[in-house]
């Protein structure tokens, strides 16, 4: 008999792949709804009908949408992201460096906020109902209730305008020293950390509180266990799945949050690229960027599910 874990893991991965295909389908056809003929738009008003027809054939535009979808997916798998409509450059070249910039931003943010958020979330759950818990709750509710751009503008006003510690804008190409790096990253990272920590703290606190109310934690109390032991030994191992899930969901929030942050701080990342593509209606670039974001989201969620499956003792 196969191990139930392997079956579940395989099932989860299949679900992720199918979801990705569905997402690709949605993105492709959403962008295909664009009114007007792409070839005409590209060639401008002065184009001859022959030139338009030639470009249509070259871009497979004369073929049914579904076939084009298949071509597009096939090309994505081989790493061919197509050519930008606007500046005719290969999209992989446009994205490459920008993606690295965004990943840097995201990883620094994650490295800072995950440990802080988990600590705050778990301690708030342990000290439930205390002054400390209430402060943490008020802070998180305030942060998740306001748009990211407000966190960003407030950070700028506090750190750049009043305190004058940091520059208001980032320019990653100017970085020459560690201090410079710190200054460039500081504002975006602070903003993003606030935004995703608030989510993570709330969800972690809820997950730990839920396991703390189970019968086996009460049993631990009746065995004479200390509060510390009840939380660390009895509640946490069982809250692991939900906590990893909370972390993944919050990190996936980074994907949306970076759009605002990269815009405000003028940070040359992939979200800014996508936003620019939207304003120029550069469809292949939008599709590719959107697929990268969705892939990132699916990776995070799938990893979280896999961790939850593997850490479940009932499946061992």
């Amino acid at each position: 008999m196969n191990s139930p874990i392997l079956n579940l893991v395989a099932e989860r991965i299949v679900v992720a792949v199918v979801t990705l295909l569905f997402v690709a389908f949605t993105i492709f056809f959403a962008t295909e709804m664009l009114p007007g003929d792409v070839a005409e738009i590209l060639l401008g008003q002065a184009a001859t009908p022959e030139a338009v027809a030639g470009l249509r054939a070259a871009m497979n535009l004369d073929q049914p949408a579904f076939l084009r979808f298949i071509y597009w997916i096939g090309n994505l798998f081989t790493g061919d992201l197509g050519v930008s409509y606007v500046n005719k450059m290969p999209i992989s070249d446009l994205i490459g460096g920008r993606l690295v910039n965004s990943l840097k931003l995201a990883s620094v943010t994650a490295a800072i906020s995950v440990p802080i958020a988990l600590t705050l979330g778990i301690t708030a759950a342990i000290l439930r109902g205390t002054f400390y818990d209430r402060i943490v709750s008020i802070f998180t509710i305030a942060v998740i209730s306001v748009p990211e751009f407000m966190v960003a503008t407030l950070s700028v006003i506090v750190f750049a305008v009043y305190l004058g510690w940091l520059p208001a804008l980032s320019m990653a190409n100017e970085v020459t020293s560690i201090g410079g790096l710190l200054k460039v990253f500081a504002m975006p990272v602070i903003t993003l950390s606030f935004v995703i920590s608030a989510q993570m703290i709330r969800m972690t606190r809820a997950a730990v509180l839920e396991t703390l109310s189970t019968a086996y934690v009460e049993m631990a109390l009746l065995k004479g266990a200390s509060r510390r032991r009840m939380v660390l030994r009895h509640a946490l191992p069982n809250a692991l799945g939900p906590i990893v899930n909370a972390v993944a969901l919050s990190l996936s929030y980074l994907l949306g949050g970076v759009i605002i942050v990269e815009t405000i701080f003028n940070y040359p990342g992939i979200a800014k690229l996508m936003l620019d593509a939207v304003s120029t209606r550069d469809l292949p670039l939008i599709q590719s960027c959107a697929m990268i974001f969705c892939l990132g989201y699916l990776l995070l969620i799938t990893i979280a599910d896999l961790v939850a499956i593997v850490s479940n003792p009932r499946l061992q």
Binding site: A215, M219, A220, L221, K223, S226, P313
Partner: protein, 553 residues
């Protein structure tokens, strides 16, 4: 002889969701001597678990000790700081929970949890603790005592977990062990094993115990003294023999009477010629999952079950949990369509799926469920709940319908003023009466009763049984009565079908539900029901081979 526990004028308050404070324990005092087992008996809401937990210096969230004192081995525990209380838990007083399945942490191996007390209180080296645990496993008659501790909680059965939690309670050599309804969730045949194991380790170690239960017969086997509780107050205290044979307090008498309901006065078969059965079930196969070509579902719950039920008669279906008796009710009602076989109502075949049955067929066959709490929509008033079948089946409206609702409330002996209430404002017994009234509103010929008294306190359940009998006399109803409780079935049924693992083992008259019953499993089942007799458990002898063959512990 010194007392392990002395409770004086204990009062506990609880805060309800709406913020009101209510006294749930009122002025309770009692002692427990060394090596003595005292039972706390009472119905739900009597405060028995709350009292037991105060002996550990613990109250559930929302509850608070507001008066009196609890002395454990000479030390007042109710005003100790939390850390000192924690030091006593596991070493001087320990706890065996009602649901061991929920009280074992799914993330750790059983052995680690059993010896955790010794780690917390640094009682002994790990190796010694493990050895001691294995000794306890042996004493509690657990299978494979050397290796069972290496498993995770989900890998052992409920009966075993319950005994393992007793090992967990005993590892720190406590002076007092609290058993909180430890066998309530178990089947009767398993319960015997567990009770025997508990009794022998407690007597051997001369450990004092508190046994919390609602079941007098179970308590009779293990307790030296019984404290009868009601609404947070002590009604009567006495030696077990005295309480059982010479109850002083009227409430105790009521409890004892409800334990053995009057047997059903059966209607004699007047006609000899075969009559068309009201309900006939023929070779039913049912279950879950995909049904293969041969008509077998991938998870088979019911296998080739047949029976007949005649008008005005009642058929009981008994068996332990998981034997398929509730599924059978659902199959008959068409909620779960059968994979094979047929259901005939008055000789007319019913479609397997209720969606294809005619409204008249649906009307004639009504189902009443176990849990009155979930069977009534909390968002609707009683009148709305009763009005719907009247509109749906009979097209009634206006004055006629209102009059009929009053009539239905009269039939189930509820005041008419209840019609504007919502289900959450009713007691368990009242809710179950409304459930019955809803089935009556359809003018049913046959009512499928699925464990309808199991969730009720004994006294309330006895009253419901009386009501069922009365309704049957007046309306010539028939009941298909599904239960795990033999005395309930005995009280109402003309015939009893015994089920085991999805099959009907045999069908017999309740009079002979005893020694001479044909099938060995039936005998095992019937003999496992605890009796109100202190010597019952010790004198009980069961064939170990039959036990082996039919145990799924």
């Amino acid at each position: 002889m010194s007392n392990v526990v002395e409770v004086r004028n204990l009062r506990v308050d609880a805060k309800s969701d709406s913020g009101r404070t209510v006294e749930i324990i009122r002025d309770v005092s009692f002692d427990i001597a060394e090596g003595e087992i005292v039972a706390l008996i009472g119905e739900s809401g009597s405060g028995k678990t709350t009292i037991a937990l105060t002996l550990m210096g613990y109250t559930r969230p929302g509850c608070r000790i507001v008066g009196g004192n609890v002395t454990l081995t000479g030390q007042e525990i109710s005003n100790l700081p939390e850390r000192k209380r924690a030091r006593k838990r596991g070493t001087e007083v320990s706890y065996v929970p009602q649901s061991a399945a929920a009280s074992f942490n799914p993330a750790h191996k059983i052995m680690d949890q059993v010896i955790e007390v010794t780690k917390i209180h640094r009682l002994m080296p790990i190796d010694e603790a493990r050895r001691k645990a294995v000794e306890l496993f042996k004493a509690l008659a657990l299978p494979e005592p050397d290796t069972i501790g290496d498993r995770y909680p989900h890998q052992v059965s409920g009966g075993q977990l319950q005994r393992l939690s007793a090992a967990m309670a005993l590892i720190g050599d406590p002076k007092l062990v609290i058993f909180d309804e430890p066998t309530t969730a178990l089947d009767v045949t398993t319960q015997i094993e567990v009770l025997r194991a508990f009794k022998s380790v407690m007597k051997k170690g001369a450990i004092a115990g508190v046994y919390v239960s609602h079941d007098l017969a179970v308590v009779a086997q293990i307790a030296d003294r019984i404290i009868v509780l009601r609404n947070g107050e002590i009604q009567e205290v006495g030696r077990t023999q005295d309480i059982l044979q010479r109850p002083q307090h009227p409430y105790t008498r009521e409890l004892l009477e409800a334990f053995e309901p009057a047997p059903h006065a059966r209607v004699a078969d007047r006609r000899d010629e075969p009559e068309m059965p009201l309900l006939a079930v023929k070779d039913i196969v049912a279950g879950y999952g995909k049904v293969d070509e041969g008509g077998n579902p991938s998870v088979k719950v019911i296998n080739k079950v047949s029976f007949e039920l005649h008008r005005g008669k009642n058929l009981g279906i008994i068996g332990e949990s998981g034997c398929g008796k509730s599924t059978l009710a659902r199959v008959i009602a068409g909620i779960l369509p059968a994979a094979q076989g047929e259901v005939l109502l008055e000789g007319k075949p019913l479609d397997r799926d209720l969606r294809k049955r005619s409204r008249n067929d649906l009307r004639a066959l009504q189902i009443v469920f176990q849990s009155a709490d979930t069977a009534l929509n909390p968002a609707k008033s009683i009148a709305d709940i009763l009005a719907r079948p009247l509109t749906f089946y009979h097209g009634m409206s206006g004055q006629r319908r209102e009059a009929r609702i009053d009539q239905l409330l009269d039939m189930v002996h509820l005041p008419r003023s209840l019609r504007h209430r919502r289900p959450t404002e009713l007691s368990g017994g009242q809710k179950q009466r409304i459930n019955l009234a809803r089935a009556l509103a359809a003018d049913a010929k046959l009512i499928l009763c699925d464990e309808i008294t199991s969730a009720l306190d004994t006294v309330v359940a006895a009253a419901i049984l009386e009501l069922l009998k009365e309704l049957q006399r007046e309306l010539s109803l028939s009941y298909l009565f599904i239960s795990h409780d033999l005395s309930t079935v005995k009280a109402i049924c003309d015939e009893v079908a015994v089920m085991y693992a999805g099959e009907k083992i045999e069908q017999l008259s309740p009079d002979i539900m005893g020694s001479e019953a044909g099938h060995p499993y039936s005998r095992l089942l019937f003999s496992s029901v605890p009796k109100l007799d202190t010597g019952w458990l010790d004198s009980l002898e069961q064939d170990p081979r039959v036990l082996q063959a039919y145990s799924r512990r």
